[in-house]
Symmetry: C2
DNA sequence: CGACGGCTTGAGGTAAGTCAATCCACGTGG
DNA sequence: CCACGTGGATTGACTTACCTCAAGCCGTCG
């Protein structure tokens, strides 16, 4: 399998063969597996190495004083867990593996050197961070101004687009190993209400979701329900993309 | 008045006198005033210069298809409006002046050079971006898992801390020129309900808010109501800060 | 003085939450 | 191979936080 980190960044920039080789090398240098439901990073931890998701699914989350949990973002293959490594003293939130997940571990020092050597990498990292910001902003819009139905639809549609970009879909179907409770924690609602909302979307023929497989049966319809406007994902560059996969992601936006 | 941009960054790093002079020069090179309620940047716009808030107050926002507005962040003096300039094609949201606001305008080209020359600046920019991310994440927690009272309290307390850091408070009082409608759009609620929530906080003796002046009469109480945990603001460095102002900000966190 | 923007109040409605029971698929051990 | 336990999904009945609509108020400015 291709290096998903490089693949993601090549959405934005392009590397020379030499650079690509270097990235592959770095990624294969040290890897670590995390079982489902275990922390990759914990709030308060001091980190001095970067974690890049290679396979599986993870989530950024916080636990409140009263025990409630809020999931702030899902991390798919190619995503960097801890861009703050270079700068901040400690993690202000945790990252958990939702399914069995494999990460590449890159020491901060190595990363720093790499950024200096490969300027395209520095640019791609900045681009990734800017889109992370944009995704978080969109999530705030979701929570602040969309109702449960729109919010769930929006999240699912966004996930579809991101999985497509990562090349991890078959048609409009893909493995999305989250429980309804986790989805509820991501959308800021109750498991009970999330369940009823999903049922609605199913009844309308928009989605199917069984056995951790999410099938978007009516992408256009879902997009409409979600009031989805893709500009915040900044995927424009895929339009001039060379691969089959990113072309198809482009169709969705 | 000192250059608030440099001041903000010196929360994190320190500059030589020469570098400080250079920053001051850049900031004074070109400035622009924006009247209250006008856009500094608009969604869809292609930008090739950076805007740094010098005085006043601004907000990032989006307008939905149905006309509703969501404010995603407040920008205070020292904040950079458009870090995406270097990378993204166009704005995916707008930035509006809430009060009369003055910005420094820095051409992207100049900024790029500056970043290359002054490596402390590049680090500080990265730090600023990481804390912006953290603030957005906290806003998602607000919306997803806190009720109206906690959410408003949290927002107000955060604003207090940020104003303190910017050195713009007298005691625990400061000018916060937003209407209740804008506060409602930031907290994802109705103006009516926001009004009642503010009344509660007032009745409990936690805040006073008249004539655009916000007075936090019981910071400790407000912090408790907000379930506020300051770690996400990453202000630790202020503890070894040299100025009076940042010392006092440190007390709050 | 009148108009206007922003704040406040009241009455009633609804989306979403709470609590608690049931169901279902799956894995495990007797 | 079946009984059992367990984690997750589903359902129902009831409550509530927040919304909606609509009127009134208050200070400011022309």
């Amino acid at each position: 399998m291709r290096n998903p980190w490089a693949m993601k960044m090549e959405q934005f920039t392009s590397f020379t063969d030499e650079q690509r080789r270097r990235l592959d090398e770095i990624v294969s240098m040290r890897q670590k597996d995390y079982a489902a439901r275990t922390d990759i990073l914990s709030e308060g931890e001091r980190v001095d190495e970067c974690h890049v998701i290679l396979t599986g699914l993870a989530a950024r989350y916080k636990i409140l004083e009263n025990g409630e949990r809020q999931i702030m973002a899902f991390l798919v293959p190619g995503d960097l867990c801890d861009a703050e490594v270079f700068i901040l003293e400690e993690m202000d939130h945790s990252v958990m593996a939702l399914s069995d997940t494999r990460c590449a571990i890159i020491p901060a020092k190595t990363m720093r050197e790499l950024l200096r050597e490969v300027s395209a990498l520095a640019e791609a990292l900045w681009w990734g961070t800017m889109t992370d910001l944009a995704v978080l902003r969109e999530r705030i819009v979701d929570h602040g101004r969309r109702n449960a139905r729109e919010r769930v639809a929006h999240l699912l549609y966004e996930v579809l687009v991101r999985y497509r970009v990562a090349g991890a879909t078959e048609g409009d179907m893909f493995s999305f190993p989250v429980t309804q409770e986790e989805l509820a924690d991501a959308t800021g609602m109750t498991p009970v209400h999330l369940n009823r909302t999903l049922q609605h979307l199913r009844a309308e023929g928009l989605i199917e979701f069984r056995n951790k497989m999410l099938n978007i049966t009516d992408p256009e319809g879902l997009k409409k329900v979600a009031l989805f406007n893709s500009n915040y994902l900044h995927l424009k560059r895929t339009e001039r993309g060379d691969s089959e996969v990113v072309q198809r992601a482009g169709d969705l936006v």
